[in-house]
Symmetry: C2
Subunit: 341 residues, 2 copies
Amino acid sequence: MSESSVPNGPNPAMIFETLNAYQRTGALRAAIELRMFSVIHDRPKNAGEIARECNASVRGIRILCDYLTVLGFLAKSEQDYSLTPTSALFLDEASPQYMGAMARFVASDEMIRIFGGVTGAVRRGGTLLPDGGSTKLDYEPWIEFAESMAPLMMPSALFIASLVSERFGQRPIRVFDIAASHGQFGLSIVRQNPASTIVAQDFAPVLTVTQRNVEQAGLLDRYEFLPGDVMTIDYSGSFDCILLTNFLHHFSQSVCEALMRRLKERLNPGGMIVTLEFVPNENRISPPIPATFALTMLMTTGEGDAYTFAEYRRLFENAGFHSNQLLDVPQSPSRIIVSSV
Amino acid sequence: MSESSVPNGPNPAMIFETLNAYQRTGALRAAIELRMFSVIHDRPKNAGEIARECNASVRGIRILCDYLTVLGFLAKSEQDYSLTPTSALFLDEASPQYMGAMARFVASDEMIRIFGGVTGAVRRGGTLLPDGGSTKLDYEPWIEFAESMAPLMMPSALFIASLVSERFGQRPIRVFDIAASHGQFGLSIVRQNPASTIVAQDFAPVLTVTQRNVEQAGLLDRYEFLPGDVMTIDYSGSFDCILLTNFLHHFSQSVCEALMRRLKERLNPGGMIVTLEFVPNENRISPPIPATFALTMLMTTGEGDAYTFAEYRRLFENAGFHSNQLLDVPQSPSRIIVSSV
């Protein structure tokens, strides 16, 4: 809705739109739940047609479609609505890149409820959730994360697999996939290099989802599953590659450093640690998605943050990793740090 | 956060940001609740200083300030945060145009809860709230609206007063202020024309707020208060000017038309009805604020809508108003229709 923003000078509309921003979440989530984008699919349809196929009211569909047209998820011509490039590629279930399911994690009732309490968390300096929030062993939303976030992570997973392939070629490597979740990071590596084996670690209920995805991929024979908390768990052997994807931001810098020290002991000579993160620039106010991600860490963890590259590099160096390379992930707001001893 | 938007081509960030939009609401609401903009006021301060004065944690304040910098409500230089033109004029309590209180209505827990149910309301074609939602006689949020929305309405109130003054000069006129709420529309007229008298109507608990504001303005002697439902209430006499501010959008077109017929009988010769509304363009997808407002009507009313000017004109003409002039309100997303017989 940036059309209404006046970049120079005071702009009350900006306040009104920001205070109303929760409505955008509600509208897009509803369109996904109603399968509206899948119903419109490949030809323009009017509100009556869409309503019939979505099993909804014409009035409701017309108002929701107009709202989503303002947001850029639909195009309107006369009385007909059609998909835009973004909704066609990512919100139509017929697309192989469909990622609508992520609404169930990103815009869950629980997350929306949590963000009703920003004032309290800012006063306290950390999450108001019990037991440290999302870092506790049985934090339920991680099951939904594993179920629904894989499509959003595919560009990162493919990019990581290409980095691993660049380093190791088709050699038989052993990979430690920490907080494996949906499993796509490890799976992408195995698909590129069938000689690799993956040790997938996560909390037990989440690892059930990982295992199911590995089974569906027909790659169970390349996997070992390690349920538990990576900070304290026992595991054997050493690794050529260790994946830390969307993980370190949940913890304080000292906890991250302690983990890195521990992992260094299990890294084979010539091995690499691949860290996938939201890494804001040093000013912490850009780019938008990594910079604003810090608030999610405030709301859901005790001590997590969106760390800058300078912060990661310092703590990685403290832990004994003297080569740390920052890379942008194509088509993703995430970045990667490749670390070696 | 429009920097991250890619206007051409598929853009998954747009989906991620929209599903996360509720976080913007939570962040701005918290900053208002913490009085952060008032604390920063007229000089740059670092997170430590702001935290001390806001009685909050440094970590929480730093993360919240960075978030609001990304959104454009703060500017950051080195480690110091300062107000932007928008936050200085509208979010610092020391400003006479402070409008932060509107968060209590626009971004209330209740409204956020309601917008968790867009799917259900789209299926049904109307609000899921009991008794028709916001049109029922004792809908509690109208008290909060009256308490907190006056500053946002001031540009419209002053513009309406100038229109009334243009038409009637300083003649003693009788004004019917329907759904008077905070009372600023009637009050602005009386301030420009002390010979005018206002009949202020609203539900009884809301009218208590109106009356308090009129009393504080020292203008009780110009007022008559009429509690009840304007659709069914008895009232005496006739009017030179009738104000329908933010009112008609709650109802079906046929209810609006019936009300206009009734009001026509009470309009003096040469009189005018002033309708203040969110009026989208005929395509219903612009400008952004009026176009998206229809969703609020879906969620909170049985039959309300953001009607286009063509729709208003048709139903006003049906009711006997043959002159209907559409005007933009300066510095506001609202529009005005001036109707005469």
